[in-house]
Symmetry: C2
Subunit: 213 residues, 2 copies
Amino acid sequence: MKIVVPFKRNNAKSRLAGILTPDERDALAMNMLRDVMDALDGFEVDILTSSILSNKDVDFSSCVLLSGSGLNEALNEYLDSQAGHDNDSVMIVMADLPLISSKHIREIAGLDADVVIAPGKGGGTNILYIKDPSGFHVDYYGASFLDHLRIARESGASVEVYDSFAVSTDIDEPDDLVELLMHGDGEAARMLTDSGFDVAVRDGRVGINRNRV
Amino acid sequence: MKIVVPFKRNNAKSRLAGILTPDERDALAMNMLRDVMDALDGFEVDILTSSILSNKDVDFSSCVLLSGSGLNEALNEYLDSQAGHDNDSVMIVMADLPLISSKHIREIAGLDADVVIAPGKGGGTNILYIKDPSGFHVDYYGASFLDHLRIARESGASVEVYDSFAVSTDIDEPDDLVELLMHGDGEAARMLTDSGFDVAVRDGRVGINRNRV
């Protein structure tokens, strides 16, 4: 199995611009990538990125530099490049899943189905495992969970949906930081705490609060 | 094991008032309760409510009428009433979890820990399993996940967090209906579809759309 992690560093996590500076957003994206790479420790991982990453930033087996094509085009090229190899299954893991652990990866890879989809909240696909990439293409953005279900079924593949709150939690918006602060124990959660963020309850609703540090 | 489901019918799901009429909100709440009761089929279930429910509305073993006390007070009285019985473990299941199935309930009840917490998104507690209710009290509202973790640890109980996207999905806000439409296959999802709702993608973001029916 090859694992591929698409990673966007330039202007990363733009929907957090209201509460994090550009440098903080960059650091959060890097820390989430580190947490994801920790969960992938022991597996063969390619990072797919158009940014320059060094092994000082994060520990990876191989970094595939993109020539500016979009996420879907890059991943579909990657799937094509893997098709036909021995043991050519591919797992696509998003880089903004700081709550995942190696247990999730092992469980997903151990399922019997030809395609395993771990949904993100709001219709997304957070982890996608494809036993035979030759008959598959990805379609991220929008309601990709439904798109990937359809693509798998049209290709005759059996599909399993992997049910995990941790895997469903991608970090895009301020409210998502609540989940990271509450349930995270890695670099990204530590960075938020060190930056003065904590969980605050106002009028019975849970949000985040920032203290001076 | 006794399962208890707190259920609020009067002005249910008020945060959906912008997109559902009062009658529709009432029907959605009832359909979600039916979906939850389907998942609990075969277990002994008490519904804890201040509303009048008949067995025509939903199939339950016993309905405990509340005298207007709050959720925490009512549940803590319930826990007290169960403490000391044989096999007196209690599972508290929220009524707005239309994606749960009996598999979740069996898995949670089969875990070794003294207390099992299945988090809701945004810091909530969606299912709480308590092996020995005599040493425990609940504290819902706000960041109840953290509160229940603390209460369990203070009482010396071992705690396990149950990781499920389906269980984490409680239906409170318009965006939550996306999850119900995408991942649901019960009465509540059917009611939404029959009412003309579907998933719509605008500017790459997934939301809901309502068509005339």
